[in-house]
Symmetry: none
Subunit: 90 residues, 4 copies
């Protein structure tokens, strides 16, 4: 079997690396539920990427349900939940 047509290793992308790293920090408990992440500008600087890339990373975490973002307020680590439970928004 050959590799499927492209999708050129998403793991190599900056936004994916950044999202994975943040996901790990959430999983490890370093970033706790209902606490805010640092601002996207700060995250961009911290990871040495542009604002757009940092925004791409947080969007990914949002799609994956790991964070909840509230406009003009910030992006928060999602509340822990058991599987089957609905997402609880703040």
């Amino acid at each position: 079997m050959t590799t499927p047509p492209f999708e050129p290793d998403p793991a190599g992308y900056l936004y994916e690396q950044m999202a994975s790293h943040l996901a790990q920090r959430i999983a490890s408990g370093e970033l706790k539920p209902n606490t805010p992440l640092r601002g996207e500008r700060d995250l961009a600087e911290e990871y040495g990427v542009s604002l757009g890339t940092a925004r791409h990373a947080t969007r990914l975490l949002r799609y994956r349900g790991l964070v909840v973002t509230v406009r003009s307020k910030g992006t928060y680590v999602a509340a822990a939940r058991r599987s089957g439970e609905p997402l609880r928004h703040q």
Copy 2:
């Protein structure tokens, strides 16, 4: 009843206007199933927006199932289908 918390009128956004306009051109039959759209660079110029905004618009159409994009090939008007039918990829 008051208006819900923000989401400041998506209809006003450039990418939404552009996506809606393209959707209408598809619905009207001007753009036919399985034919390619113009390239994103061309669309950006045609609509007088930046490349990023044009890309945002086509991404929206993709999410809505109106187009299918093939990397390095182009973005195609999705095949017409009856409701209930699965999406057919090229």
Copy 3:
């Protein structure tokens, strides 16, 4: 808490002070027509005010026709013009 005077002196507001100062820099020729102002974040830092205040100040200048702002590009010192002449955008 004391009640404010009925019509608080607008000259006392930070945004008004800032706007006046910028207006003077334009009038003096320090800031020349068709040149961009520094970004709103930079101006806020330069004047030691919050971002909202800096924005309020530039909005005032815009209303007064001293600057023209081009979305996503920047805010420019308005071209000098005789009264009656239309605004010339860059």
Copy 4:
């Protein structure tokens, strides 16, 4: 169809011609160290070749140490250096 010569003359390739021409412009001082080349699309148009060919040419110059490319920023004429000296990035 005829068989090509065993080792086709690299000097005949468009990308090699283009790379050589750019190398000469660098050597002559027309293109100065640490200044950016024109974008690959512009170069392609300027030399009347396809985008892929222009990219091939700049890649060659990169391999030869004549230019340094900074992702998403541009391709720059390499700083002049004595042999043995490390490359200095801008």
